[in-house]
Amino acid sequence: MIATVWRVAGVGFSLLLVLIAALLYGAAPEQASFLNSQIGDLTIGFAVRTDDLTVLLLAVVGVVATCVQVYSLSYLHERASSYHALVTLFTAAMATVVVSDSLFLLLIGWEVMGACSYLLISHYWERRDARSGAVKAFLMTRLADVGFLFGIFVLGVGAGTFRISELDPARISPGVLTAGTLLLLVGVVGKSAQVPLQTWLPDAMPGPSPVSALIHAATMVAAGVFLIARLYDVFSASSTTMTVLAIIACVTMLFAALCAMAAVEVKRVLAWSTVSQLAIMFSALSLGTREGRHAALFHLVTHAAFKGLLFLCAGVLLHQVGSAAFVVLRRYTRRGVLRNRLRVTFLTMTVGLAALAGVPGFAGFFSKDTVLEAAWDHAHHDGSVIGWVVLASVGLTASLTAFYCARLWLWVFFRSPALAGAIGAFEVDDPMADLEDPDTSKLKDASWLMLGPLVLLAVGALGLGYVDGLHLNWAIALGSTVLVLFGVLPAYSLWSRGADPRPAVLERELGVDRAYHGIFVGPVRWLAKLSVLGDRDVIGAYVRAAGRSGTLASQGLRLLQTGNVQTYLTGAVVGVVALAILAGVIAR
């Protein structure tokens, strides 16, 4: 009953967002502030605004949220009420971030999203990986949010206002501007899982797939991109921040793409690819030009469509097969059933992967080309080093992306001729793999409640590329197509030979996670133990010693109680004499 109410509320609320976005489309930008209070000469309160950016993001959030809510109706049956309630709360928080004109309102939405993400990742709280992934996700973003909060302080106090629309970079001193934006960048890096705070996103995958689609692909992690786009004037006024952003983005996109190449689970591949694609958006933003901002937002929209689609497809695999690990999926594939039985899923996933890889004609191709074009323009016309670096790394990433997309597509859906039906390269993950053949008779495609959103998003992944108006730079388009081919061909050749070489260093994701564990988690645990012991054995010991010394002193004083009247009297007389002498001395 309650679950039904929340289901209806969830779907209704997401549709409402779409409706609001449609109504606001083309409307003049407006602002309103409310519930203000005065702290010294600063105003702390809430404010909202509407403009193009708001409408764009509201539409993205609304559509993806609607898809996810509808999809979840069929996907998820246990704990549905809390799930739908939290997804709705998340959607509301994201909408708050999008419409906010007050840094504090934005922060509220920002962190409520984080909390919802935490609660939704741990939706399957009986699973160990879900629990630890959720905690990790929340703590890492929380750590980054501390920087974000300080950034708000620096900028807000420096500019004398916490209203986004009133932040004028010209009126803020350069030092404050750089410090503030760098601190804000910390929050952005955490939320969007960029290097060095990237490790939480792949570990957040034990959450339900629709949640991964909504939160960890389409919206929440893209909030960082939105924030920089929102504060673009402020950010682009500080070249230091933009350089740092460019470095982070370039390192991240390559790092994440490399990790994705070695991942052996569909959702983990997708998670790393999300990190990598977000980095592409950041690299576009780091150019500091209008084209860059436009390219980033364009890529954000198309990425929301195809990455949401891909996660929902992975969800179908999980729902129908029971796992999204390559090794399990291969067992179905070698019997040739996966592709045939899950035909809609296969087709939509193909569209999604093509868009992700940047196959010409698909949405991802156009948006990535816009990024490349913006980088080229910046590099070529302005002679900027950042432009060249971004251009090079995005190009390289395009190749790597194409590689892991092709690898995923081929290994999951196609029998490798060289292996003649054997599971091949992934058997090391499960020594029992060959002994047990899954029962494939009951495998069928999901209900249309789940497939409908897939189709809708697949249409988006196909068509969104043309929405922006076709203006291709043919040289770049050709170049990127070649790069994609450079990625696809090795993947095909490896697959056809039945080999999947995964360097150990990439499988361990360069050991970052373990290093963080050693550097932060261990010492904190040790300090916690120390602090408990310190309280008990140092501070507590002082308190106990104070009590003990009181007891001891009283026991010592008891010895004076000899019972002999004359002793007492002697003491009294001595006291009188002493007092008399003292009185004489004082009088003197």
Binding site: Q566, T570, V573, V574, V577, A580, I581
Partner: protein, 164 residues
């Protein structure tokens, strides 16, 4: 004349008092007390306080010392010299007493070193009687109540309980 008389009586009193606190035989101490009290009464007389002197002899020598002797008898006090007459603290007590004496003496000399007592007319008993029964009659009556209370208290304390 009175000064000489006082000095003699005082010297006797001091000497007897020393014997009281140092005598090894307790009964002797009590008897030396008689001497001391008598000498003090002499001092009173030298100060023209005949009434107080007479009361002193009557009450102290006549009553209190007799009472003390009775108590000694009742508590089976040994009449032979005692080996452990004083406590271990006696040197310390002596030191304290000497310090106190010096302190008080110095104070007295400082404060009243130049004062003299003028010879006063004898026969002050009349004046005391008048004073007691006019000015001090209320304390006097309260004192009688106190004596009564002490009497009852002494009886209550020294009464043997039935089971003894």
């Amino acid at each position: 004349m009175t000064t000489a008389l006082f000095a003699v009586a005082g010297a006797v009193a001091v000497a007897a008092a020393v014997m009281v606190v140092t005598s090894r035989r307790i009964v002797h101490a009590a008897l030396w007390l008689v001497v001391t009290l008598g000498a003090v009464a002499g001092c009173f007389g030298a100060l023209q306080a005949e009434f107080v002197a007479l009361v002193q002899i009557l009450v102290y020598v006549g009553a209190i010392v007799v009472l003390v002797l009775f108590a000694l008898m009742l508590t089976k006090a040994p009449t032979n010299p005692l080996p452990t007459l004083t406590t271990g603290r006696s040197p310390f007590a002596a030191a304290i007493a000497v310090v106190l004496a010096l302190l008080l003496g110095a104070g007295v000399v400082f404060a009243f070193g130049n004062q003299k007592i003028e010879p006063v007319p004898a026969g002050s008993a009349n004046a005391i009687g008048t004073s007691i029964f006019q000015t001090w009659v209320l304390p006097f009556e309260i004192l009688s109540v106190l004596l009564l209370a002490a009497l009852i208290g002494a009886i209550a304390l020294s009464q043997r309980k039935k089971e003894d």
